[in-house]
Amino acid sequence: MNRRDFLKTSLGSAAMAATAGVAEARPNLEPAPQAIGMLFDSTLCVGCKACVTACKTVNGNKPTIVGEDLQWDSARDLAPETFNVIKVYTDGNQLTKDSEVDGFAFEKRSCMHCVDPGCVSVCPVTALVKDPVTGIVTYDVDACIGCRTCMTGCPYNVPQFDYDNPFGALHKCEMCNQKGLERINNGMMTGCAEACPTGATLFGSREALLDEAKKRMALKPGEVYNYPRGDVRDPSSYHEKAVPEYRQHIWGEKEAGGTNVMHISSIPFDKLGMPPLGERSFVSISESVQHTLYSYMALPAVVLGGLTWLVKRNTDGDDEGGEQ
């Protein structure tokens, strides 16, 4: 059994077994009532990187320059100045798009805006918050102490700390809705979804996007489908395309409690770099443990009481230690 399989299969049962008799476990969080999200359809992505450029423009991020020779944005992965990047999966002779064997496929990397976000759960100072209405995971630079626990708690390695700046901060996609930008609040869509020429990055409510994704799953490969672009609830335009052979898997529907940014593709998601996640979020387990131990500080208080009594008894008549 390899590590990935192990984690996938045993996570749920293992979690259950160990909680027995402790306390009621905290379940996964539920999606926000008006959760905003995006749907990335890898089969529609043509690798134009319009979303990467749009993201940098909208968020005012500088291009990632590699060495002195490449004077254009060549971000390799998420970085403090890169909230969104298109990566490629390749295999063999790389001839066929969206083919697992001898093919290639594009994959978007950006904040998934988890329904049960790890970063939000682990942040000690509430610098990361899941918006109660839109479900967008936002960042408060004035609260952040730079401990980077969020980076360890994120299953997707999304938050990026600016190590090269002595007064650096954390950087991640906030769905173009951070203070000063607030595109969502102003009725606009995310920069990447707006720029996408094929509708590979589709904007909308999580609910509508999930419906759209399920609709695509049900389509027969080869038949022509009118793919929407822009906002799935009110598409700016459509384009016709033959339906590819989708994997019957909507990443983000259930993974670790689900995500607001969902992915569909023709390639298995582990090949596209998605982590081995079960349905239960890890932070729901850690919070269960933590709240079992520290519920209203009752247990520590009782323990402290007992300890105090013991120490008092053992130090009485002898200032510093027990009986010799």
């Binding site: 450029t53 390799r76 395309k241």
Partner: protein, 373 residues
């Protein structure tokens, strides 16, 4: 081969071009084919040698005669002369001075005389429905004419999209059952020079190669010479950097369009069309005059299943042979670090120092205890 060894005077007279212009042309064609100067001289010699000029039978099927017209209006110096003189054009329905049964008789005679030596050029689609009655010349259907001419041809070239894969008349619903020459002559090798109209340079280059080396240049699965159709328009397009940077024209006349950004969103078929338009431009007209050059999305005229088949402004599939290196792979990361000799040694030394101190202490401790006992 040194040019002094070769006498161009006869050629200069025959073609009415200067030796310099002629050699320039041959070098240009050779370069397009990816060949060197030596090949250019070989080509020049082949053209100059009257005996090597192959007889050509040129058939017209369902088409607009665009390929021939394009050939005649080529801008390169005296191209029409070269075309007419580098081959022995024995039969060509558009250009023949004569007409009627006399010409048909000449065609049969030429084919008989040059059995197995002549070059067959097919221009236009071949309608198969209802026994091919939709296209007849001199009482003979295109089906029969093509079959007859192909029988003893040394090589067959399908010139233009109609001849290559059916062209506009093969588009749905295709009432005449039009097909291209390769689909009709399934048991023969047919070189295709698709395009609507095709670039004459691609034709000349291919024919020159045939004349020079007596064989056809390397072709792909669809019969297209690789030297001309080996790459997507998208791969060589000078608007490509805009595509890579995500700068698109979204409407005709908008800011992006005015600034010369990528036309992909307007339905450009460059990403799925194999042709050398970006380097040779349309019809050798020059001056940036080809669809993408003048701000119109590529129509995909030379690509089977694209031109006349896909809506003009519909989005194309990006067929990139190998995804460009500029894409990071899934496991590509910023700032991954690994141990260096120094750091590994230092880490080892730190652990070693702690262990060493313990070891010294341990041995001393043992000694001391044994002393005490």
């Amino acid at each position: 081969m040194a040019d002094t060894e070769f006498d161009f005077s006869a050629l200069e007279k025959r073609l009415n071009v200067s030796r310099r212009t002629f050699l320039k042309f041959c070098t240009g064609v050779a370069a397009s084919l990816g060949l060197g100067t030596e090949a250019a001289y070989a080509m020049a010699e082949a053209v100059a040698d009257k005996k090597k000029r192959p007889p050509v039978i040129w058939l017209h099927g369902q088409e607009c005669t665009g390929p021939t017209e394009a050939l005649l209006r080529s801008e390169q110096p005296s191209l029409e002369h070269l075309i007419l003189d580098l081959i022995s054009l024995d039969y060509h329905q558009t250009l023949d001075a004569g007409a009627g049964h006399h010409v048909e008789e000449l065609k049969r005679h030429a084919m008989q005389e040059n059995k197995g030596k002549y070059l067959l050029v097919v221009e236009g689609a071949i309608p198969l429905a209802q026994d091919g009655i939709f296209c007849k010349i001199g009482g003979q259907t295109m089906v029969d004419a093509t079959r007859e001419a192909a029988e003893n041809a040394a090589a067959i070239v399908a010139y233009g999209s109609c001849a290559s894969w059916g062209g506009v008349q093969a588009a749905s619903p295709n009432p005449t059952g039009a097909v291209g020459a390769p689909q009709f002559l399934k048991d023969k090798t047919v070189v295709t020079i698709p395009g609507c109209p095709p670039n004459p340079a691609n034709f000349i280059g291919t024919v020159l190669f045939f004349v020079t080396y007596g064989k056809l240049p390397p072709i792909d699965g669809k019969g297209r010479p690789k030297w001309a159709y080996g790459r997507l328009i998208h791969e060589n397009c000078y608007r490509r950097p805009h595509f890579d940077a995500g700068r698109f024209a979204t409407e005709f006349g908008d800011e992006g369009h005015q600034k010369g950004w990528c036309l992909y969103k307007l339905g450009c078929k460059g990403p799925e069309t194999y042709n050398n338009c970006p380097s040779l431009e349309f019809n050798n007209v020059g001056g940036g005059v080809w669809p993408i050059g003048v701000g119109h999305p590529c129509f995909g005229c030379s690509e089977e299943g694209t031109g006349f088949n896909k809506a003009l402004f519909s989005l194309s599939d990006v067929k990139t042979h190998t995804p460009p290196n500029a894409f990071p792979t899934i496991d590509s990361r910023e700032d991954a670090s690994s141990a260096t000799v120094t750091t590994a040694a230092l880490a080892g030394a730190a652990v070693g120092a702690a262990l060493g101190a313990s070891a010294v202490a341990g041995s001393k401790l043992g000694k001391k205890e044994s002393e005490q006992e």
